[in-house]
Symmetry: C2
Subunit: 158 residues, 2 copies
């Protein structure tokens, strides 16, 4: 598996990974009916990468500044694994790539601003890589069947 | 003082209040060189209000959903008091207005996602109105002279 920067030719492959996650509405605070165009604008606003497993896109992540202005020395990332590629270390490989790349880009910390507590696999992975829970907004996320979960803020210095 | 919804005619008045705050770069994580157009797009993305003191705009605030999708049952607000109108209860009046209006709009909670700890007046006001610190990202804000401050997440149910 290699991880490479996304190109203009990756739009379809990236959307094929994002669509089921966003349509499900259980992990990302994104409108479930978001259009392909808006989803790609969001995902490609900063730098975007694709995990390539032979000829197949197995995952994608983005890295961008966490905030504008005085908040730009930390970065924020988002990760999605392709349907059918779960459990093969894709998320872990992307996170390792993101941590190295964020350091290269000069970022001093990485923040996840809205990690839904019911997304257990993500929370466990972030913790394993040194992210600490620095915030918890009670009931800030309502999933697709109306169940509420807390949203975590997770952080690690780089 | 009355607080009324902003109209298209308020662009100049709102920008006159936002510009010194954003240019200073000490409280909002906004690019200091943001254009008038981008600043107004940001401030007017949801519902926007103006505190009117006789014929003068004394402050402005916005209210919008905190997140899209599953995060839309909480709201987020931003407040700016006009230069020269500080210390007259403008921020307090706007916050009271925002809390009432947020309830009317059906929001179940209000979140401030990035309160710079060095913004002591704001932090004290939010606390006085029942907001609790539910998160703190260490060193997430760097001010205009390079000093770092933590960014708080503050929340209260409605």
């Amino acid at each position: 598996m290699i991880i490479r920067e996304a190109s203009a030719a990756d739009g379809n492959a990236i959307w094929a990974m994002l669509e089921p996650v966003f349509r499900a509405g259980d992990t990302y605070a994104i409108d479930r009916d978001i259009t392909r165009e808006d989803a790609l604008s969001y995902w490609l606003a900063g730098r975007c990468f694709v995990a390539q497993d032979a000829d197949r896109a197995a995952g994608t992540y983005y890295i961008q500044r966490n905030r504008a202005g005085g908040g730009a020395h930390y970065c924020n990332c988002g990760f999605v694994t392709a349907p059918g590629s779960e459990g093969r270390g894709v998320a872990r490989a992307m996170l390792e790539d993101a941590l190295a790349r964020a350091r290269d880009l000069g970022y001093e910390g990485m923040v996840f601003n809205f990690v839904v507590t019911s997304n257990h696999r993500a929370v466990a992975l972030w913790r394993r890589y040194g992210f600490e829970e620095v915030g918890r907004v009670p009931g800030a996320f309502r999933n697709s069947v109306g169940e509420d979960a807390d949203a975590l803020v997770m952080f690690r210095p780089l």
